[in-house]
């Protein structure tokens, strides 16, 4: 079993996409070759990001204040906005004796279990895609990057429903899909701090193979 040395947790609050990205790159260098892990929480000012797997057409330029950013994570197109908790996980796979596929499965399991722990909602998985849904509504999107065996980027969890987001972009370009939110499923606001706590807790358990 691996032995965890240190996990650092930060919450940047609501920030621009590039500000959080630069923080990730800073942490990427800090954890490389070490048995340390970072969890960086934030919410982004309205931004549409498209990853390395994106092949479609970008939304029309008239986005009313939405920034559009090409990024280096895997995956397709998505949106980030206030009301969506973003959890970036940064750690060296080799130090924890994990493979990339382990992390792709792990991040999905961690997030699903943490949401269930925090509010009792059990989200759906799909056999042919990464993400967490309730029906056609996508609640959680994943996108990961790995450089010199250090993973970064992570999960975006929509906890406050916003109609305006669905008018602008479909998650991963799925024309039948839409951004669903935990508060709408729950019928009341979600405790954001509780969700953060359970994400870190599940992440620690996963790292330690528990």
């Amino acid at each position: 079993m691996s032995v965890l040395t240190q996990v650092f947790v930060d919450d940047l609050g609501t920030v621009g996409y590039n500000q959080a990205y630069e923080k990730q790159i800073e942490f990427l260098a800090a954890v490389s070759g070490k048995k340390d892990a970072r969890v960086l929480f934030c919410e982004h000012l309205p931004v549409i990001t498209y990853g390395r797997s994106f092949r479609g057409a970008l939304p029309h330029a008239s986005l009313g204040g939405w920034e559009c950013v090409k990024t280096d994570r895997g995956g397709d197109i998505t949106a980030h906005f206030p009301g969506q908790l973003v959890a970036y996980f940064i750690f060296d796979l080799k130090q924890f004796e994990k493979r990339l596929v382990d992390w792709m499965k792990g991040i999905q399991a961690i997030t699903k279990e943490a949401i269930s722990d925090a509010c009792g909602i059990c989200l759906d998985e799909r056999p042919d895609d990464r993400g967490l849904w309730k029906g056609k509504g996508k609640v959680v999107s994943f996108g990961v990057a790995c450089r010199r065996w250090v993973v970064y980027h992570g999960a975006a969890i929509t906890y406050t429903y916003r109609e305006d987001v669905n008018a602008i972009v479909k998650p991963c370009g799925d024309e039948q899909g839409y951004f669903e939110a935990l508060d709408r499923l729950l019928g009341k606001p979600l405790d954001r701090e509780a969700l953060k706590y359970h994400i870190v807790n599940r992440f620690l358990c996963w790292l330690e193979g528990l």
Binding site: R52, S53, L100, V101, D102, M104, V144, A145
Partner: protein, 76 residues
Amino acid sequence: MKVYLPNLGEDFEESEIVEWLVPEGGYVEKEGDLVEIVTDKASFILPSPVSGRLVKIYAPAGGQVAKDGLLCEIEE
């Protein structure tokens, strides 16, 4: 030395080569960025296992490479 796609996991049967970060004929340091690959919802930059000159790319950008597939050859 021939460089193969490392074992990223049993689920990743095929991956896409996005971009070679070193051109044919170029020099790469050990652990330096060699090639960017996307698979599933992850992008992955493979570090070079050795220092040397990249003499041949077998898996060009835009193409697919199978698990354990031959990527390139590096002359140490």
